[in-house]
Symmetry: C2
Subunit: 335 residues, 2 copies
């Protein structure tokens, strides 16, 4: 913790010159603006959008990626833990899909290397979409319009699961949220955030929050222990990264979540136990940096965090192609 | 049945002149093109769109109108019967919301007079969204952006359920699907449908299907007994319009469903028991008009029915405003 605080104090000194005047070009802030996506295969992403909204990727025919990563709601379901097949309760809070391409790995414990690998997981998870890759591929191969669209893109006979997850990942790459007020400020518009928000940012840096929440996604680029200064109390059984590495020191170590659009992605933490930003900031201060913020300090940081809400993706509701007589039918109530 | 057949024969004679040449201006077809919506309060409809996609109208915070009337899927969930709160199985097939404004009444048994009255039902139904109007109004009144938006439209202090259902209904009025190939043909483009499809339409008229499935929605404008020529066999317990009128003759009488977009709104019938149009046409012929179509006849009618798929509404995915600290939280797993 001492090292982290020292780093932050240095960062604070470096950036304090910008107070009230917007950042100077010569001062490198520890948070970077989100860059617009440039290298996207539009045709593939458009197919991926359909698949993202496609309930036939689930056994029930009812749950799609968008059910738990709702693009109307900051890419989350705003539930503590998600509702899966047969109304099963998920084990962990669904992280936002917005800006997920900026994460160093996917899932809270980083068990998937990238978006493509992630996309295959919930489809087969019996507590989530409860399908199988075999079933999903059978379903898609029975739908003429999908067959045609995949063929056009991949020039390959028959749809394969690798193509499905690749398309979903390509769509997800487009789900970035640039142009938040904070990014406008970073880019030189000193009026984009107000004095309280700016002071919140300074405090966010000075107090050490920035040591984990930095970079373009304001997080997402490291794994950290939840409960550094004091243990984090939860009834949630997730053990974090130890499940991936097997190392004892990775117990309760999770991927640091992005703070982009944090105003929209409540409830907070891997257990989804906290409903408001005020509470979340209070708890993080205690358990991560061993500090009690005053009410005014808390309000400043919350005000700053709300400047991180970016432009939400503008998407047309996809029209999904109809099943054919050969399509395996959904099994919502089968045991 | 005799009366119906006679009517149809007359209709057929009247319209047979159009065979292969598109309808003449002097021949009035029993199906009318869908007209574009003209009188819509756009601001109200836009608010209604948000509410249509709003999972906070349900107890769980997971189910929205769009869950069962999915606008990516012909305004249906493509399930035999829907999945409701706590994964409860619904009692009846969810009818499409597309062109629902053209129905003479709402729900299969017509128990709601209009879209506004309908919209209030599923919110409070313990097997569907399982909320209450009081809860929903509390939730919406706790969300600053909704309060502002309702205030702007209704100029009234505090959101009321009547405003919520009015907004949803206004949005639903926009969900019409004009410009199907069949409508293009009706409007004079003789190349819009092919010979098989045209023959299917002629057979549809000659055989009596048109006696119930007519007008702009190709249905939706009368209540009819399911099982006229012979009883319709089903394990579904819905008794139909008798539940509304109490009259014995209304047993197994249902609102005739629209055939617009029927290619997209499988499975078919009030019990959702039939997956394909081929089967549906076969069964309807047997139980309603006491006829067995040949395979070729069946194929013609199915081909005609597929010309009724109209332009699906082009909608931008709405961005829903975040809850506040005062918002009652969803209760997905509460008993």
């Amino acid at each position: 913790m001492k090292t982290i605080r020292l780093q932050l104090t240095l960062m604070s000194i470096l950036s304090v010159g910008s107070l009230g005047f917007g950042p100077k070009a010569s001062v490198k802030e520890p948070i970077e603006p989100i860059k617009p996506v440039t290298s996207v295969n539009k045709q593939l992403a458009e197919l991926g959008k359909k698949l993202f909204f496609e309930p036939r990727l689930s056994k029930s025919g009812f749950i799609s990626c968008n059910s738990c990563h709702n693009l109307s709601r900051g890419g989350t379901d705003n539930l503590a833990t998600s509702i899966g097949h047969n109304w099963q309760q998920g084990p962990i809070n669904s992280p936002t899909v917005l800006n997920a391409s900026l994460n160093l790995a996917q899932f809270w414990d980083g068990r998937a290397a990238d978006l493509k690998e992630q996309a295959g997981g919930p489809i087969e998870n019996p507590k989530e979409m409860a399908a199988s890759h075999v079933l999903v591929v059978d379903v898609l191969n029975s739908i003429p319009q999908y067959v045609k669209e995949f063929k056009k893109i991949f020039n390959h006979k028959g749809i394969e699961i690798e193509q499905v997850t690749q398309a979903i990942a390509e769509f997800e790459k487009t789900l970035i949220t640039p142009n938040s007020r904070f990014d406008q400020w970073l880019l030189g518009n000193k009026d984009a955030i107000n004095q309280q928000e700016l002071e919140g940012y300074q405090l966010f840096k000075q107090s050490g929050c920035i040591s984990c929440h930095n970079g373009a996604a304001v997080g997402g680029n490291s794994f950290q222990k939840m409960g550094i200064a004091q243990p984090y109390k939860t009834t949630n059984e997730a053990k974090g990264r130890i499940a991936v590495t097997g190392k004892e020191e990775d117990k309760h170590v999770f991927k640091v979540p992005t703070l982009r659009n944090i105003e929209l992605t409540y409830p907070y933490f891997h257990d989804g136990s906290v409903d408001t930003l005020e509470q979340a900031v209070d708890i993080m201060a205690k358990v991560q940096i061993g500090r009690d913020f005053t009410k005014a300090e808390n309000a400043k940081i919350v005000a700053f965090l709300k400047t991180l809400t970016g432009e939400q993706p503008t998407l047309t509701v996809p029209i999904l192609p109809p099943s054919s007589s050969a399509t395996p039918r959904p099994q919502p109530f089968a045991q």
